[in-house]
């Protein structure tokens, strides 16, 4: 199919049923994501946002439907290490130093020590953690831990970055700073990002497109194009268009909720 070359991720009629067929988590999801897009999935708790992410990452299998990642099956894409993933908690390995945590995927890919060292230095510079190479994860703040997790996910330059509420556990100020840093990293790496969040301003600020999901069973309620200029800065949050888009997403979420009831 020729359409595959210009889509990073394509979902067709994807459904997921949990617990012996009693809980329908996702129903008939259709979604096409272009390379280089920053997509946010937003919706109420339990709407299956994380499930979408895990299906794209081949961490769980859909009950029904087709998922194509980088022109191949999600399974093949995982085996080819086409994506990096970041969770709500950093999930760093205590027994490894910061630099060895970042190097973990590089060990898996089979890079030699010298090449790993160079890349780790580069990545820690990118997330502004130079000087913390030999610290242990528990000696870092939550925000710093999450930056290590981002460096780890990007270290092997995956084409796709999956982020599951990565800043959900952080305070508002740290979250806003990391939002800016993430955008800078994204603009430099040109990778595709799928970002799960339940913060409306965060979704609007970061994304090129926001996918609004309905409560369980999760469906795509609407797609909101975010036409805010790039690069986004602190002033973006004061842009009237920013508020309009936040309102649009909020209205869509409300409409999707009422429809479900």
């Amino acid at each position: 199919m020729s359409a595959q070359t210009d889509t990073a991720v394509s979902m067709r009629g994807v459904s997921k049923v949990f617990a012996d067929g009693r809980i329908v988590a996702l129903q008939d999801i259709d979604l096409d994501i272009r390379p280089g897009e920053f997509i946010s999935l937003i919706g109420p708790s339990g709407c299956g946002k994380s499930t979408v992410l895990r299906i794209v990452g081949d961490l769980i299998q859909p009950t029904d439907g087709e998922v194509v990642v980088n022109g191949k099956s999600a399974h093949r894409a995982r085996l080819d290490r086409d994506y990096g993933i970041v969770f709500q908690d950093a999930v760093l390995f205590d027994w490894r130093t910061v630099k060895k945590n970042v190097a973990l995927p590089l060990e898996m890919v089979g890079w030699d020590r010298a090449r790993r060292g160079d890349r780790v230095r580069e990545m820690l510079e990118l997330v502004e953690l130079t000087g913390f190479e030999d610290r242990r994860p528990w000696q870092l703040s939550g925000g710093m831990q999450q930056r290590v997790a981002i460096a780890r996910a990007l270290s092997f330059s995956p084409a796709l970055l999956l982020m599951d509420e990565p800043f959900g556990a952080l305070d508002e100020m740290t979250r806003e700073r990391l939002n800016l840093e993430l955008l800078q990293i994204w603009e430099r790496s040109r990778s595709t990002v799928i970002f799960v969040t339940h913060s409306i301003p965060e979704a609007v600020f970061l994304s090129t497109r926001v996918v609004v999901m309905s409560p369980r069973p999760g469906r795509v309620a609407s797609l909101v194009d975010v036409d805010l200029p790039h690069p986004r800065t602190v002033e973006t949050r004061e842009n009237p268009r920013f508020f309009e888009l936040v309102t649009t997403v909020r209205d869509d979420l409300r409409a999707a909720g009422e429809e479900g009831v």
Binding site: R78, I85, F93, W95, P105, E107, M108, V109, W138
Partner: protein
């Protein structure tokens, strides 16, 4: 450096209004605590003895020089000749402790390896666990004294030296806690860390060595701390049916026979056996400090 100590203290969740202690001060305080507790225990022993003898209390047993010797007599006995014109008791017991220590160390190493391997094997499938765990547990319900003679006969038939049989008996006591805790540790891995390894297309083997085993280390060391003194007990008990005279088991049997005339000798032997067990325990504690690198809340 000062700041680092303060940081570490805060991480353990202790809130102290006192200034942080330097490493030397902390070591000094520990030594002081140890001496104080030891002195307290000796004091309790002697006070009990004095009160029971003074008021002639015979419950739960009559107290005299035979049932409960003075602590200083027990320690003093170490520096008396074990037999007339023979070497000092402490030198006899030192040789015996080294002999038993060798058996226990070999038994501990063997038991830890077998225990860990079995734990890793059982962690591979629920079916294996369901099938084999009952027998693993069952193995520990058989008294060691019932198995020891068989081990000695079987291995003896292959020309193994008696101390090797004793090491195997000691390993039999060692492996069980190691298997159970290794299994528990391997299965306690954070599910998201498993997803992370899956996202790297890491296979079973890599996930085992890079994630599951490091996660299980604190559990493993808890087990080793139980297993280390147990291996000493296993070696001592193993010496009895093997009629080995050179170890602490032999010394215990021997001084049992002379308890009426010299109760201090048996007490002194028990003291040495306890010290050997504590020594084994401390070796594991030191190894844990070196090997386990986990957040303070994960380390027991």
């Amino acid at each position: 450096m000062e700041a680092h100590v303060g940081e570490a203290t805060a991480h353990r969740g202790r809130i102290s209004l006192l200034p942080p202690l330097s490493a030397v001060e902390e070591a000094g305080q520990r030594a002081l605590t140890f001496v104080a507790v030891l002195a307290g225990l000796v004091g309790l022993w002697e006070a009990y003895k004095w009160v029971w003898e003074r008021f002639d209390i015979s419950w739960p047993f009559e107290v005299n020089g035979r049932t409960l010797p003075h602590t200083y007599d027990i320690v003093g006995q170490l520096f008396e000749p074990a037999q007339r014109n023979g070497p000092l008791l402490i030198s006899v017991l030192w040789d015996a402790a080294r002999f038993t220590g060798k058996e226990a160390a070999a038994g501990f190493a063997l038991g830890a390896m077998v225990g860990f391997t079995l734990g890793v094997a059982l962690a591979q499938s629920k079916l294996l666990q369901r099938g084999f765990l009952p027998y693993v547990v069952g193995s520990q319900t058989i008294p060691i004294l019932a198995i020891a003679p068989m081990v000695v006969v079987w291995l003896g038939a292959h020309g193994a030296e008696p101390w090797v049989s004793v090491a195997v008996i000691s390993a039999y006591l060692t492996f069980f806690p190691v298997t159970i805790n290794t299994l528990r540790g391997l299965l306690s891995t954070d599910p998201r860390a498993l997803e992370l390894m899956r996202s790297y297309a890491a296979g079973r083997w890599r996930t085992l060595w890079r994630l599951r085993v490091p996660t299980s280390l604190p559990y493993l060391f808890s087990a080793l701390k139980i297993a280390a003194p147990a291996s000493v007990v296993g070696a001592i008990i193993g010496e009895l049916p093997s009629s080995i005279q050179d170890g602490l088991g032999g010394a215990i049997i021997n001084f049992n026979q002379y308890y009426i005339t010299s109760p201090e000798s048996l007490w002194a032997t028990n003291l040495v056996a306890a010290l050997l067990g504590i020594g084994f325990f401390l070796v594991v504690v030191v190894a844990e400090r070196i090997v386990v690198r986990r957040a303070p809340e994960h380390v027991a």
